[in-house]
Symmetry: C2
Subunit: 94 residues, 2 copies
């Protein structure tokens, strides 16, 4: 599990990403804006491809004109270095 | 806007669908289970196709092994008959 100091350090390198606590579990979350539903869904599929490739899967909320991605590590009930890497990869394909 | 009596009547015909209130707005919500992430994402895309066809768009939360769909009508800030029809169409493609 990443320490609070590590989390703050990693976060400072990931613009727009925030910590969201759901049922006591920290998640790394960001919302991306799009012109319509179709483009939002296309991005969801791009994230899905990366998730399958890395075998690490986020929660992806697809809505008209926006996609909210949440990364966390179920096994440890929190954030691992890998979640921050996946966040960076998500930015890279956005 | 659908009345409370209409909502209860429509809901009784849609197994598994529930009312979820988010920021004071009622949404029609159901979670579908799948074997893995890939199948969940496939269902998300099927819902997306129906949404585009009908020009009415839900919120779709895609996770490993499950998809949570929420229908509501932004314009009226609540539930319209059409949301229940979209719920039935979602069941039909599941």
């Amino acid at each position: 599990m990443a320490t609070q100091i590590e989390i703050e350090e990693y976060l400072s390198q990931l613009p727009g990403w925030q910590i969201e606590v759901v049922s006591g579990v920290s998640r790394l979350q960001k919302t991306y804006k799009f012109k319509n539903f179709e483009q939002a869904l296309q991005f969801t599929n791009k994230i899905g491809a990366v998730a399958e490739q890395e075998n690490h899967h986020p929660a992806i909320l697809t809505e008209w004109g926006k996609v909210t991605v949440s990364w966390w590590t179920h096994k440890i009930g929190g954030l691992h270095m890998n979640d921050f890497i996946m966040a960076a990869k998500t930015d890279a394909i956005s």
